[in-house]
Amino acid sequence: MDSNCVDKQNNLVDSIQSHHQHGNVVSNPWRDLRRFTDARIGLGRAGISLPTSELLAFQLSHAQARDAVNLPLNIDALAIDLSNILLLDNVTYPMRVNSQVDDRITYLQRPDLGRKLAESGRKTLLHHMNSQGQAADTQYDLAIVVVDGLSSLAVQNNAKPFINELLSQLHQQHSGWNIAPITIVEQGRVAIGDDIGQLLNAQVVMVLIGERPGLSSPDSLGLYLTWAPKTGLNDACRNCISNIRPAGLPYTEAAKRAVYLLTQAKKLKLTGVNLKDRTQDDVIEHQQQTQNFLIAE
């Protein structure tokens, strides 16, 4: 390296090392690292405190997330969306049910009621089972339950594309899953899937639910799998895949993990803490050491 080059390199190091000062704000040269993460890094500082612009940007994000919690699910649009999923064996219009909660304020304070099906919903599901002939004989391998949860936006945006991907991967397996018509739930919590899975006589229930909105992720979809669903199970009986959305865990990857867990659940006849997600074990074990930029020489 000639001396000119060395000088250039030193200048570059200098520019990385010195913070730029704009008035009373010290900016952070490592802010460029935000291409690796949505985390609020490199915000800079006024003294040791947040600069005004960052303080106000946070307030706006918080306001948006607060609004997302209160946005109602457009259930008609979602039902039409889900009825257009072609890969379902029995193309049925989704069944629409409610929890025992009527409004959002009650929903936030009464998770116990959000876990229980309203009587009308129970009737809807029983009616479906009766319409299948001998109710006691009808059995599904999998019941898919779509629940608004704390972000209707998550369900509205991500439920259909995810289910599409999931079903297409399941079909490739040729393992023959008999899937119940999709149930859509308003004002529901995760455990409402236990009631529904039991009523539909399903071996395993998959709940897709809007997770609580974060400041950078107002539309995060969560997935919960419960083997042999019945009223009163606890969370140790479930497996979870979180943050399903294009900017989070992509549909293909999420579906791959779900299919793995479904297949294992069927084999082991259980879900929960004794069923570990090992989809990435091979990949990670055979990878070269996954170096991050702080370690790279």
Binding site: Q9, W30, V69, Q109, S216, R278, L294
Partner: protein, 467 residues
């Protein structure tokens, strides 16, 4: 068997079915106790319950188990570990006397340390219910609980932070970017701790290696932790992964812990495994626990107890395993347990007080979710109060926003704020490193340097080619 409790106020007699009922009704208002149907029906009933509770002798708590000894291993732990000799200092007191005793000038940090194994979680919970916020702060500040692994946490006048570099897909560069940000803001002495996006052993090992590499390369006197299920961490240790601390969320009843998928034997096994690695340099506290009011109710495992009493019982579980760190994730579970900023603040102070009184190295995740009635101002208030109370550590996260867990907690900036207004220093070993690296220009006044240290400028420079 349990007796009922009565209090006559004027012409009206109030009756409480048993001690657990009295405890619940004496608890300051919160939504979780309303949800469980155990809270006082009126403000007056609550005040009367507190007066009744103040007259209860501490001895009663040893005879009247809230959850039967035979059916709950946490009850067995509490009663079997109770130290009668330590209890002798306070065995003559009622709950009301106990408050006076704790606040008295006679009770010094040394006295509290001598008595702690004589105090049960239920006694701590009971006295907290008749204390005001300032009482909780004043007594907690007298409880000195220190622990150590590669640095020393909890020394009086010190406040540490957990650097929490979470990423929604566990991207190694995304995580490294947040770690760098935190270190350059002087955070990360309690632990560099990642909540992984998926509960997967191979993934946990990958993240453990990532943090271990960074800690070794930059010679940082701190420890790392992947906050995965305890059974996963045991597998990681068996696979030879560089495990510093074993993590687990814990609750105050056996049924809560079953719902989390572990029991006390599991924790003992994990602690033994971690100790066998001998990775600590200045101490061997190898466990990291998280708690939070509402977890037992959420798991339908509360046995009719109020949520704060359940929470205090979790500290008996923690204390058994000599943890390096414990923190209550106070506003995390949501408004169905702690409705707003006021309830979160009160709960945070109660949790910190009860844990410290029992001898647990308590920190707090000062936090809220977007569906709670709370905002950054509430967090500023609680952070300041906990700083005054001598809290061992708080969270440090970029811009307060956890992009994986979707909640808001304290930021790197917030930690510097509370250190500056209160003069609370980082762990001594870490503070030395901050000075050596020239991250702090003036560590006494918490003034950050205006240049990036050479060691960290180099990797940034190496990335320039990619820009």
């Amino acid at each position: 068997m349990s007796q009922s409790y009565r209090y006559t106020l004027g012409s009206q007699t109030y009756q409480f079915r048993h001690l657990a009922d009295l405890m619940a009704k004496a608890t300051p208002q919160r939504s979780g106790d309303r949800l469980a149907g155990v809270m006082a029906q009126s403000a007056k009933e609550r005040a009367v319950a507190q007066m009744t509770l103040a007259d209860v002798p501490l001895k009663i708590f040893l005879n009247e188990a809230f959850i039967p000894y035979e059916t709950d291993e946490v009850t067995r732990l509490i009663l079997d570990e109770h130290d009668t000799r330590a209890f002798a200092y306070i065995s003559h007191l009622t709950v009301g006397d106990f408050r006076n005793w704790l606040l008295s000038d006679y009770v010094t940090p040394q006295v509290l340390a001598a008595v702690k194994m004589g105090i049960t979680p239920e006694m701590a919970a009971a006295v907290s219910k008749i204390m005001r916020n300032q009482d909780l702060i004043l007594v907690a500040k007298k409880c000195h609980v220190t622990s150590a692994f590669r640095n020393t946490i909890g020394l009086p006048g010190h406040l540490s932070t957990r650097l929490q570099p979470n990423h929604p897909t566990d991207d190694v560069n995304g995580i490294a970017a947040s770690i760098l940000d935190g270190l350059l803001y002087g955070n990360g002495d309690a632990v560099i701790g990642i909540n992984p996006a998926t509960d997967n052993v191979a993934q946990a090992i990958k993240l453990m290696k990532l943090m271990d590499d960074v800690i070794q390369k930059y010679d940082i006197p701190t420890q790392s932790c992947v906050l995965t299920h305890v059974t996963n961490t045991i597998e990681c240790i068996e696979a030879g992964a560089p495990v510093d601390l074993v993590f687990q969320s814990i609750g105050g009843t056996e049924a809560t812990n079953s719902s989390f998928g572990f029991n006390l034997n599991t924790l003992a096994e994990a602690q033994d495994a971690a100790l066998s690695l001998k990775r600590g340099t200045v101490g061997n506290n190898v466990m990291y626990f998280e708690t939070g009011q509402g977890s037992s109710l959420s798991a339908n495992a509360h046995h009719g107890l109020d949520q704060q009493t359940c929470e205090a019982r979790a500290y008996a579980v923690a204390r058994k395993f000599n943890p390096l760190l414990v923190n209550t994730v106070v506003g995390f579970i949501g408004p169905e347990y702690l409705f707003d900023g006021k309830e979160i603040t009160r709960a945070g102070l109660e949790d910190h007080f009860c844990a410290k009184l029992l001898g647990v190295p308590m920190g707090c995740d000062v936090c809220y979710t977007n569906h709670a009635e709370a905002d950054q101002n509430d967090m500023d208030n609680l952070l300041t109060l906990l700083g005054v109370a001598g809290c061992s550590f708080v969270m440090g996260i970029p811009g307060s926003d956890d992009i994986m867990l979707n909640y808001q907690t304290t930021s790197f900036h917030d930690a510097l704020y509370v250190r500056r207004v209160l003069g609370s220093r980082p762990a001594p070993e870490f503070e030395h490193w901050l000075s050596k690296m020239n991250i702090m220009k003036n560590s006494a006044d918490f003034v950050l340097s205006n240049t990036v240290p050479n060691a960290f400028a180099k990797p940034l420079y190496a990335l320039q080619g990619d820009y």
